[in-house]
Each structure stands twice: as C-alpha cells, then as structure tokens.
Assembly symmetry: C2
C-alpha cells in the first residue's frame, strides 16, 4: 500500500467520522424521525448516494466504529499466558471491547446525550461481524482448554455470557451516571460469573 493510499484511508475514515458526528447532532437537534438519509446528506454536504458509499445502512451512521476485529480480539486472547485461567483472559478481552465504546473526550458528552435520549441505539449490535467473533473466540477457548466445542458447552457458555454482560455493562454505565465505569461493572459481573450465580 502506497503512501497516498494510506492518506486516502485516513481521509475516508475522517470523512466517515464527520458524517457520523453530523448525524448525531442532527438527531439531538431534530429527533430520530427527522434523521432521513436526505437530511443527513444535506447537513453533511454530500449527495444521498454518497452517504451509502460510507455506510451500508442508515443506522450504521449512529454507531461507533469498533476498533477491533475478530482476528485482533482472538489474538489478544491467544497471547495471554497459557496458564492463565480462561475466564481471566476473557476478562481482558471484555475490557478491550468495552474500551471501544469510549468516544474521544470532546465527543463524550455528545454520545452520552445521544444514548441517554435513545438507549435503543446502544442495543443495536451488528449481527454479521459478531457471529464471526463468537465463533473465533469459542474456538480459541476450546483450544486452550483442549475440548471440543461441539460436545463441551463450556467454551460457548463462557463466550456467550461474557458478551452479554459486556453489552449490559456498556449500556448501564452510559445510561445511568453513577460513579462506576464500564470497566468497574465488567469487573463486578465477571466476579459474579467466576464464582457462580
């Protein structure tokens, strides 16, 4: 990849991000219903057609872009010491995921207000990529424990419940503003799951 290609990447990412911010402000300003693709495009000064060069759906414009992938998360898990308990390693992965929901400082209030007013936006998960991450992590857990994930439910249960509490921790900490951070809640939840319900 040439230097100009990298620059293009950065420009594209920046523009995408700018459109997202425009969309978020539009929602806060006029409400969710007014957020048509046409309205966003106009506010962002692009054609409606161009909007879909950046996002594959309207909803995508209101989601934070995850900084990780199935590959990177699995690598993170696999790079943990081999003698570390599986659920400890998973906790590290969980915090990594939660971190990607922390917006840049200047935007923090913007997102918080968006999520406070429209909590359902925090619930929308992208089913495509998620499925891959699940499979990949389940396999990694199975490998570490030397089990067959089609026979032994442990790997699936670990990954499944880990993700569900991550989701809960993220939503809870962004909607209710008590002192606890997302990481705090993840620790509480993982402590409970680790010792048994």
């Amino acid at each position: 990849m040439s230097a100009s290609d990298q620059r293009r990447e950065r420009q594209k990412a920046a523009k995408r991000h700018a459109i997202t911010l425009t969309a978020v402000r539009l929602v806060l300003d006029k409400g969710l219903d007014a957020m048509t693709v046409e309205a966003i495009s106009e506010a962002a000064d692009i054609s409606p057609r161009t909007f879909f060069n950046y996002f594959s759906s309207k909803d995508e414009a209101l989601q934070m872009r995850p900084s990780w992938s199935a590959v990177s998360l699995t690598a993170l898990f696999q790079d943990r010491p081999a003698d570390e308990p599986v659920f400890r390693s998973m906790r590290v992965v969980a915090k990594e995921i939660a971190d990607s929901f922390v917006p840049a400082r200047e935007e923090s209030e913007l997102w918080r207000e968006l999520w406070r007013r429209h909590p359902e936006l925090l619930a929308k998960r992208s089913p495509e990529g998620e499925e891959e991450i699940f499979r990949s992590l389940i396999l990694a857990v199975a490998e570490r424990t030397g089990t067959d994930p089609m026979k032994d439910s442990y790997p699936s249960v670990v990954v499944t419940s880990a993700f569900s509490v991550i989701q809960w921790a993220v939503r809870f900490s962004w909607i209710n503003e008590d002192g606890r951070t997302t990481a705090d809640l993840i620790d509480e939840a993982f402590d409970l799951l680790e010792r048994g319900l």
Copy 2:
C-alpha cells in the same frame, strides 16, 4: 370479551399462522431473496396491504410467536417457592422460554429446515418486548434477594446471562442435530453458570 370476540381472536391467530407457514414454505422453495411481501401475499391469497394487518414487518412472518409475555414469565418466577435459590427459579423460566421455540410436531421438520438453511433467522430477537421482559425479571430477582438493582449487579447479571445462554441453547440444538435437546443444553449451561466459570 364476548364469545364471538374470542372466536375472532382464534380465527385471526389461525390465519396469521397460516400466512407464516406459507412464508416459510416460500423461503424453502425460492430462497430468502424471493420472499417479498408481494410474493408471500400472493401465495397466501391475500392482498399485500392485508399482510401488514397481521405482521408489523416482513421479518415477523418468519418468527415463531412466543406464547409468553413479560407478565406471565415474571409471574412464573414469582410463583416459585420463596426459599428456592434464585438461579434455580431462573432455570425454570429459561425452560419455559425455550419451550416456546418448539413447533407443533407436524411443522417441526419445516422449521428445522428453515433454521438449518438460514440460522440468522433464529438470532433475530424482537428488541421491544425483550427489553420489558428484562426489566421485569430483573426487578423480580431484586425483590427476591432484597437488593437494589441499580446498585447491585447480581440481578442484572443473572437475567442477562440467563437469556444469552437460552439463545445459545435454542440455536445450537436446532442447528446441530446431536442427541441433546434444548432443555439438555440449558441444564448444562446453567450448571456451569451456577458453579462458576
């Protein structure tokens, strides 16, 4: 509610169910892409407009209708003996939920084939009702344990992870046909969660 109103209810439910079966057969026959509202309507011999009298979205026609509600599930939980451990009661609730994914015997093969060919349909949860069930059950757990669900994470973690493993058990048991039933998998998962990961 008068007798004829009840009859209407039954007729409406029956027709709705008939449309669903038509839609499922259409998907198995022609593929998901060919399943337009127009195509379903034609096959079911109703107008496209009428389709939306029965379903609020196209996808809804391919979902099994849950036989429970937030109220009934919460009541089921609350009716368990007061000295039963919370997570035991939750297991009962879980099996009740899983049961609603068991189609009538004659349709069993139809649904299995649909889910085998399009597993993503089993993943689509309805975000509206689900939210209410979560809240309601979390409150019920909090009440039983005498805790404040805004301070103590236990109720949320129990409900959240219970639902996630239910979802996993349903999907797993319908897609992979080994000997284990959904109830078996729920037992395995709950055993793991109960004793700790």
